[in-house]
């Protein structure tokens, strides 16, 4: 079991954002996390990635306890993540963005540059190496973020709403890209998403959160039919159409 979360609770003052969450992600799998807005998905992500310290509960990665570890530690041990919204480093070129990811694993600039170019090649952004991210279309910027995360040579890649803001064609492309890099790099993917088609197609297993709790878990088709899940999504379900 690559990632294990045991009875995680995260409270902010009086607000309970995550309540008694337990989950397991097996190595080599693609696991999705869905739930209505405010369900606590990003909070969970942030707890795992080290940006929040859990109020209670434990987190294990590769058998080692990482509860409360700061983000840079979590990154070094092999968990990479992307952020909601566009979080490229705006004043640095694409190459520099990815190199900083590569520097996670080396001290030498040339080595970092080589690793960065390898990853950029994999994500078909090598041509834009000297451009600034803000000059490029959103779909490309997503790939830059992916490349950057990948350059840290992670075992687990956590994606926070990577498909947000993409049109159907771009969504399909990024789905293929993810499948490809997963195979190529032997990654485990743990992603949270609102675009249903995307996450249900990609994931092998899906967890559902609502109001801070895990309410369902299983293969996508089963989870989609569960009454609890439909209920949690009632409004959004109609919006999805």
């Amino acid at each position: 079991m690559l990632l294990e979360v045991k009875n995680l609770v995260k409270e902010f003052g009086g607000l309970v954002a995550n309540s008694d969450i337990s989950l397991e992600v097996e190595e080599g799998r693609i696991v999705g996390l869905i739930g209505p807005n405010g369900a606590g998905k990003t909070t969970l992500f942030n707890c795992i990635a080290g940006y929040y310290r859990p109020t209670r509960g434990k987190i294990f990665f590769g058998g080692e306890e990482i509860t409360g570890w700061p983000p840079h530690h979590v990154a070094k041990i092999g968990i990479a993540r992307t952020f909601q919204g566009m979080k490229t480093l705006p004043n640095l070129t694409v190459e520099e963005n990815v190199m900083i990811g590569a520097f996670c694993r080396t001290h030498e600039r040339e080595r970092a540059r080589r690793d960065a170019h390898e990853v950029m090649e994999l994500l078909a952004i090598r041509e834009e190496a000297n451009a600034l991210p803000k000059e490029l279309p959103i779909a490309l910027q997503k790939r830059i973020e992916l490349a950057r995360a990948l350059a840290t040579k992670p075992r687990l890649l956590m994606l926070d709403e990577i498909a947000a803001g993409l049109n159907p064609l771009e969504t399909k492309e990024i789905l293929q890209t993810l499948k490809r890099i997963k195979e190529e790099r032997g990654l485990t993917l743990f992603l949270t998403e609102h675009v249903m088609e995307f996450i249900m197609t990609l994931s092998e297993m899906v967890m559902v959160m609502a109001a801070g709790r895990k309410i369902a878990e299983g293969p996508p088709e089963e989870v989609a039919r569960e009454p609890k899940v439909i209920e949690a999504y009632l409004g959004e379900r109609y919006a999805q159409g």
Binding site: A75, E96, T152
Partner: protein, 333 residues
């Protein structure tokens, strides 16, 4: 080792016009004392190089690190006083006092950095101001540092390479130029180093930097510490150049402001920014002052500079270098 030397001296990654421009600049500076013979002109050039030196060091934390530090004068003071007091009390040779000053400044910076980096943005800037002011007032208050009377360096027969005392500005010119080049090469190495990249990542987005394995806090502390050490070098130079130092001269708020301002207007975060900024301000300051009559017309130069600064804040936060880059990009399209 070989790679280190390459990194130090190589400007390979910069476009040709930059390398050319830099070369021309170096040549001008090298031959300057033989072309310009006026004492005032030479003094302006020396002051320009001194502030370019200050700017280079500040650029590390302020430009690459993105943390606006308004208290660099304290580090200048540490260097100046280390040199001044050691020379006065124990007759220590200049080049021995320099590392001592650097270590003192770096150590103090390191100590104060830990609590201070809990703060960000404006609050951090104000805190750096406070720290620098506290030190200045302490130096005025203490007797053992000479208090407000300052420290006078005994005049010795020139030329004297132990205490770096010279009769003619030409020597000081090459002296400060040497210090300037040293720090420039260091910054050249820095911007290409892992630490340099990490600082920039932290500047751009701390959360993202952390997600890439960067210890944000530690990076900031290290950057601030190094800048502290670098600032002291200029202070040591001031002691032997002016032969007199006191807290209002080497550690005042105005000096911190000037250093930060020079770099911000020139272009913080770029290797050339500090040089451009100093090249604009120092001659402006010195010649405008002389032209208008120093005493009565104090302040116009800074007013102009402040206006430039406000315009830059509203239009191009990347400073003059940012404007140059933008123009160049437009040309390429």
């Amino acid at each position: 080792m070989r790679q280190l030397l390459i990194d130090l001296f190589s400007f390979e990654d910069r476009p040709r016009f930059e390398k050319l421009g830099f070369l021309i600049f170096i040549i001008i500076v090298l031959v300057f004392p033989w072309i310009v013979k006026s004492a005032y002109g030479r003094a302006v050039m020396i002051k320009f190089l001194l502030f370019a030196l200050f700017g280079l060091g500040w650029n590390l934390i302020g430009g690459y690190g993105g943390q606006v530090d308004l208290g660099q004068a304290k580090n200048v003071g540490f260097g100046a006083y280390a040199t001044g007091l050691m020379m006065l009390w124990w007759g220590t040779p200049f080049w021995v006092t320099v590392p001592v000053g650097m270590v003192i400044a770096a150590a103090e910076s390191f100590g104060v950095a830990y609590p201070m980096f809990r703060l960000k943005g404006h609050y951090f800037a104000i805190a750096t101001l406070c720290v620098a002011l506290v030190w200045k007032e302490l130096f005025v208050f203490w007797d053992w540092t000479g208090g407000a009377r300052g420290v006078e360096i005994p005049i010795r027969p020139t030329p004297n390479f132990t205490y770096m005392q010279f009769g003619s500005p030409i020597h000081y010119h090459y002296f400060i130029f040497f210090l300037f080049i040293t720090q420039l090469l260091f910054m050249n190495w820095f911007r290409k180093s892992k630490l340099g990249y990490e600082c920039q990542a932290v500047r751009e987005n701390e959360d993202v930097a952390a997600s890439l394995g960067i210890n944000v806090y530690r990076t900031k502390v290290i950057a601030y510490t190094i800048t502290g050490g670098l600032g002291a070098v200029g202070g040591s130079f001031m002691t032997v150049y002016y032969l007199y130092i006191d807290p209002d001269f080497v550690m005042p708020l105005d000096l911190s402001i000037l250093i930060a301002m020079t770099v911000m207007v020139g272009g913080a975060g770029s290797i050339w920014g500090p040089i451009i900024g100093a090249a604009l301000l120092i001659p402006l300051d010195m010649y405008l002052g002389a032209w208008l009559g120093a005493q009565k017309r104090l302040g116009i130069d800074f007013m102009i500079y402040a206006l430039i600064m406000m315009v830059i804040a509203a239009r191009e936060p990347k400073g003059i270098w940012g404007i140059i880059e933008r123009v160049r990009k437009k040309r390429m399209e």
